[in-house]
Structure formats: structure tokens, C-alpha cells
Amino acid sequence: MEALSSLAFGFSVAFTPFNLALALAGAALGTAIGALPGIGPINAIVLLLPLCFSLKLPPESALILLAGIYYGSGYGGRISSILLNIPGDPGLVMTTLDGYPLARQGRGAAALALSGIGSFVGGTLTVLLLTFLAVPIARLAVAFGPAEYVALMVLAFALLSTMGQGRTAKTWAAICLGLLGAMIGIDGGSGVERFTFGSLEMLGGIDFTTLTIGLFAVSEILIVAEGMRSGAVTHLGSGDRLKIGELVRCLPAMLRATGIGFFLGVLPGTGAAVASALAYTAEKRVSNRNDTFGKGDMRGLAAPETADNAAQTASMVPMLALGIPGSGTTAVMLGALLMYSITPGPLLFTQRPEIAWGLIASMYIGNVMLLVLNLPLVGLFARLLLVPNWILFPGVLGLSFAGVYAATNSMFELLLTTGIGIAAYAMRKMGIPLIPMLIAFVLARLLEDNIRRALSISDGDPMALFSSPVAILFWLLAALTLLVPVLAPHLGRRIRTVSDSEGG
């Protein structure tokens, strides 16, 4: 009940015309910025921070604006993920898997609408959980120790390895490339340089934006260029809009993905990339009966989109409840609070309720606004594909490079992006999947840091990794994930009939 009255107070803050306008402006601006490849939510927020000060916005209004941008850029990012196969931030990588094939089938507008609805469901359900359970959940999340993280990461890798059907060896090769790529730079634990070849630019490792733009934007453009010469790339008619039946069929996937996204988003440091990867691979395990995933299955689009937004929202839980950032973007938002001379911490709810509850209320409003703002526009966005390729793709490449340069201020990064793009083109020609590589790259650091932490606590005893029931549960799930595809053919038809009758 206390939460309800506080929430009502929050709405009274967020529902002032000024703050509503800011939320709308943030959502619209975020959508536009997110749609530009290479500019993720972090950069969007950082670009706008100075504006908040020069406009002399009160802190709760600034936070509402920034949160709007945060969500909006997620919505905008899916436009390039679905239509162009270029994910704008880590959480949207999995979106390309089924979103892009849908767009190629002429159903770009339907895919955009579905992803918008999925994001809305994930975001709104998570805000509901956050409103009532933020503090106890945050307490549980911080108790998640290194051993549990390691087991969770192993499970994630196991699921990842099952992504490329019939291409297990190539999928593992991609995962190993991702792990290797993540090792470049100063090692977080010991401060030792690895694979930098004495280059100072490499000290900080490969930036995620650089890698994504190279892997997806540059290689996609090379593929398109090749296709244009041979005439393989053609224009698309606009297919059917999203049907109610399709939406209903995706609902179970959305609910499952919300659960996964919320759980992983609350854990400090894991973030939306892990959440959407796990949601996609898990959904594929549950629903991929006719082998439609990866070829434009609606559920394969709904699951990662929902989980991405659920995780993004859930990463606000440790920030609001404990004053600890749960992700890079929330770290920037905490920094914004600091600039307003507000000490983020457990007392935020009692000392500055207008900020904490105003923000929570604005999340409800922001989610609704984005849906209203985006749904009517999906047709318009989808028309992007009607732009002739010879204008569209060079334009995308130019914007991507501008994005990389804006984030890093470095020529070296542009060269690196190009190099990665050429390598990615070769990989695609050889049938090595790029997405497991990118996700492995994102997860590698979490895995390595936590193995190291777990082993230094136990003084090198590897049994520490199996020390808690939660960890053991994840290990078992990982083992099942790996073993079932190997054993299933030997066990024959029996299992298939059993699981079919159970699942059906």
C-alpha cells in the first residue's frame, strides 16, 4: 500500500505538463538517435546531459528526459536491427536473427510493430515488479556471488553453442573468436597487457560499437554490394501488417522473456545483451518445432525484444534501491544525479522521493508514449527499405562511421572497424556465424572476471565453482543443453514423442 501511495505521488510529479512534454521529447529524440547505427543509449544520454544543465532543468525532470532517451533509443535501435541487419546496441543483437528475415520477406512493418509491443510488455511488466519489489529484489541480486555468475555464463555459452543448427563446429569457432577478441587490452584483474602488440590504441581493448559496426554494417554493405552486382538484391513489396493471431501466439514467448530479462537485468553487470541472448536461445529450445527460428519466426523476434526491454528496466532496480549502477547506462544516469549534487544511495527513496518515484512513474508513461509514438510510424520506417540501395547503404555506412568517430575521437577506430568488416565478410562467406561471436565477446569479460574472483576467494580450489545450489542448478542446465542434442538421436524416436505430447 505504501508503494501505491508513493507511486501516486510519483505520478503527480511526472504528470505535470512540463514533465510529460519532456518524457515525450526524450522518447522521440531517443528513437531518432537510436535509429542511427553506432550511437547507443549511453552516447545519447551523454550528448544531452549538458543540455539539461543549460536549460536549468530540475533533477527529476532531467532524469525523466534521460530515461525517455534511454527507452527511446532502444525503440529506435530496433529499426536498424530489423530493417538493415545492423544492431545499434548489445541488447539488440539477437533482434536481427528473426527480425531481418521478416523484413526481407516484406514484413518489416509487422516486425517493427511486434518488437514495439514486445518491448512495451517487457518494460511495463518489469516496472510493475520494480514498483513493489525493488528493495528485496536488489538485496537478493547483490548476494549473487562469483560462483553463480560463472555457472550462469557457462549456461549462456552452452545455449549459444546450440544456435547454429548443423554448424556446431563453426559456431564454436565463432565463440572462440569472440572470447579471443575480448582478451585484447589491459587485463582487468592484473593490469597486464594482452595482445596489444605494444599499440596504445589497443590498450583499452576493442570497443563494442567498433566491433558491431564492423561485423554487421561494413560486412552487410559488402554483401549488398556483391548482391547488387549479381542482381541478387531486389526491392521488397510491403507485406501484411501484424495480425492479432500472430500477436497472441507470441504472448507466451513474451512472458517467458520478461522473466528471463528481469532476472538477468537485476544482476549488476549482466545487462540486456545476456538477457536477450538467453531469452532467444531458451525460446528456440521451447518453441522451435518446425525449424522456423532464424528464418523469420515471430516468436524469435518477440523473445529477445521483450527480454531486452525487461532487462534495461530491471537494471534500474539496483540503481534506485541501492544506489549501485546495474549497467553502463544507469552508471551515466547516476553520474547525472551526482552533477546535480544528489548522492545516490539507499536513502534516495526517503530523502528525494520526487526523484525516485517521479522516475518510476515516468517509466510507465514513457512505455505507453513510445508505443503510441512508434506504432503509427512503423509503416513509415519500413519505407526506409524503398530507398535505393545505392543511396541507403553508403548513407548507413557514413552514419556508422560518424557514430564510431563521435564515440571514440579516433582514426584508428575507423581503420579497425573497416578491418573487422572485411574479416566479417570473409567469415560470412565461410559460413561462420557472427552473432555467437559478438555475444561471446560481450560475455567473455564477465566469465573471466568471475572465474578469477571465485578462484581467488577459494585460493585456487575449483570446487568453489560448484559451491551453491544456485550454481549447481545452472551447471546442470548447461550440461543438459550440451548433452541432449548429442544423446537425443541415440535415444531414438521415443523421447521426441514424449516431449511432443508434453509440450503439445
Binding site: D187, G204, L347, N409, R453
Partner: protein
């Protein structure tokens, strides 16, 4: 608004005339040598905003981020591409000097830039959870002495970083080999605090500003501050390490440097700007709100200080068994 602008510019004209300076920066820039959101980023953004708002620097200062190697990339970029650019200042902190001393900035040394001045300082602290068995710094040291492996320490930096140095110095003062400490490194102080609250680690050698929120809420206990005197505010009841018999001080000084080949006049302009900033009561309030404490050291004094600190860190790193630069 216009009246205010006029007043400010008139004041500025007077100040300019008084110090007889001709140099005015054009399109000035503050480089935060890190990704957005961290300490360097805040230093740049808050300082530039205040320098503009108080009318000390007229043209708007923009902040750019140049992440990489905890300041190494920016340090080298300035040397290679902009050695005589008078319109740029770069944020620096004690952590940069620690890395400079350990040769992590490439072939350049502390003598290769012009140190402008400090705008404030944070102080190292040692924090434990509210229900920790360690009530004083002595309890912590006793546990370390008995079995260094029994105390798991964690913070945002790597082994050899300033977060590691703080407990290492305490251990050394107590006759314990710092390399025997059980130290976990996290992605930033926030994650380390989460691990402390969750019970994964037992102590966080963090910064005062970083733990302030948790201390106010009674979630943690601060065993000691690594400052010369007691810190004000919520830290007033926390004894310094020195009071408890371990003379370990760790100010995290935040300031700026300029490219090596700017003229003395240009150097004087920026030094003067920082001097005015530090003297302004409005800035002093902003500084306090940021969790920073006064640290008025600018110009040649700061230059000497930066060089002396880097050299001290070089000796220190060698003593605790880390790699250092040759000179």
C-alpha cells in the same frame, strides 16, 4: 538574462585587464580521458560548466571523451598530435600518476606535459559492511596479520592500481606482504560495493565520495579515512588511519594538464582560471556537493607536486613488487 551576461562580461573584462592577459582560448575543449560517466568525465563536465557559468572562461568549453588505457591514449594523443594546442585541457587524477609511474603511458613521462592545477580531492577510505566483525582499522590489520588470505578485499581497480595501493600500504606498515593480500578487481566501485553488500567480499578500499551514500544509509561502516585530518560531514566521526597508528594517506587529487609546448602566457591563463575557480564560493559549494574536498594547488606548485607524486609512486611500486619505468 541579458543583464546578467553583461554584468558577467564586464566583470570578466575587468579581471582580464587586471591580470593583463592577452590570450583568450578559441573553442576550448576539455578532454575526459575515459568513457562517459566516470570520474574524469564528471571532472571535465562539472568544471567546464562552472568555469563558463561563473564567467571565468567566456567561450563555451566542450567536453570530449577520449577513452583508452586509463588516460594513456589521451596522453599520447596530446604528445603526438596537439603538443602546442592552447585551447585544450585534459583531466588528470592521482590514478593517472600511478599508471605513469608503472610505465603504462608508453614512452612519455611526467615531465612531458604542463601540469595546470587541482580543483579538488577525494580521499581513500576503507569500508566494511555494517555487520562486519572488524570495528576498527586495528581489527582489520590483526586479521590480515593472522592470515592475509582470510580477508577478501575488492575494489574497482586492478592489482597495482590506487585502490590496491591503499590496503597494500596498510599491510606493508603492519609488516604483511602486500602480495599475499586476497584482492578482487571489479568493474568500477559500484560493483565492488554491491559485492560488499552481498557478502562476497569483506572490505572495499574505495573513495569517500563513492561510499558516502551507503554510509549515510547505515549500510556500511568506514574503518578509516586515508586523509591527513578527519573529513567533514558524515565522515566526521570516522578516525583517520593516522590516528589509529598507520600513517597511510591517499588523496585522490583531481585536476588538469595542458599540452607540453604551450607558451607561458597560455599556461598562465589556465592557471589563473583554475585559481579563480578555486576561490569562488559558488564553486566551493558545487565541489562539496560532488563529494570533493578542497585541494587548492595550482601552477608551478601543482607541477612540482605531480612530479613528486609520480616519483613517489615509482618507488612505492618497486617496493611492493610491481613493474615500474626505468628512470
Amino acid at each position: 538574462m541579458i543583464r546578467l551576461l553583461l554584468a558577467v562580461s564586464a566583470g570578466l573584462a575587468l579581471a582580464g585587464a587586471a591580470s593583463a592577459q592577452n590570450f583568450q582560448p578559441a573553442n576550448p575543449e576539455c578532454i575526459a580521458p575515459a568513457a562517459p560517466g566516470g570520474g574524469f568525465d564528471l571532472t571535465c563536465r562539472v568544471t567546464s560548466q562552472q568555469l563558463n557559468e561563473l564567467g571565468i572562461v567566456k567561450p563555451t568549453i566542450r567536453t570530449t571523451n577520449m577513452p583508452g588505457g586509463i588516460g594513456a591514449v589521451a596522453y599520447n594523443n596530446i604528445q603526438a598530435r596537439r603538443p602546442n594546442d592552447p585551447n585544450v585541457i585534459i583531466a588528470v587524477s592521482t590514478g593517472s600518476w600511478v599508471n605513469l609511474a608503472q610505465g603504462k603511458f608508453g614512452r612519455f613521462t611526467e615531465n612531458d606535459v604542463r601540469w595546470l592545477g587541482a580543483i579538488g580531492a577525494d580521499y581513500g577510505v576503507l569500508a566494511v559492511r555494517k555487520d562486519s566483525p572488524y570495528k576498527t582499522l586495528q581489527d582489520f590489520v590483526d586479521a590480515l596479520k593472522k592470515d592475509p588470505g582470510s580477508v577478501t578485499i575488492g575494489a574497482g581497480g586492478t592489482v597495482g592500481s590506487q585502490d590496491w595501493m591503499k590496503p597494500a600500504l596498510v599491510a606493508k606498515a603492519a609488516g604483511v606482504d602486500p602480495r599475499k593480500m586476497r584482492y578482487l578487481s571489479y568493474e568500477g566501485g559500484g560493483e565492488a560495493l554491491a559485492a560488499l553488500l552481498g557478502g562476497t567480499i569483506q572490505a572495499v578500499p574505495g573513495d569517500a565520495s563513492e561510499v558516502q551514500g551507503q554510509l549515510e544509509a547505515g549500510e556500511i561502516r568506514v574503518l578509516a579515512t586515508f586523509s591527513e585530518e578527519r573529513l567533514p560531514g558524515v565522515f566526521a566521526n570516522v578516525p583517520t588511519a593516522k590516528e589509529q597508528g598507520y600513517d597511510v594517506q591517499w588523496p585522490i587529487v583531481r585536476g588538469f594538464y595542458a599540452p607540453p609546448k604551450i607558451t607561458d602566457e597560455q599556461y598562465a591563463y589556465w592557471v589563473d582560471a583554475l585559481k579563480k575557480l578555486n576561490a569562488d564560493p559558488k564553486w566551493q559549494k558545487v565541489r562539496t556537493d560532488q563529494g570533493l574536498f578542497a585541494y587548492d594547488l595550482v601552477g608551478p606548485d601543482f607541477d612540482a607536486f605531480a612530479k613528486q607524486r609520480t616519483d613517489a609512486f615509482r618507488k612505492l611500486a618497486a617496493e611492493v613488487g610491481l613493474k615500474t619505468t626505468g628512470n
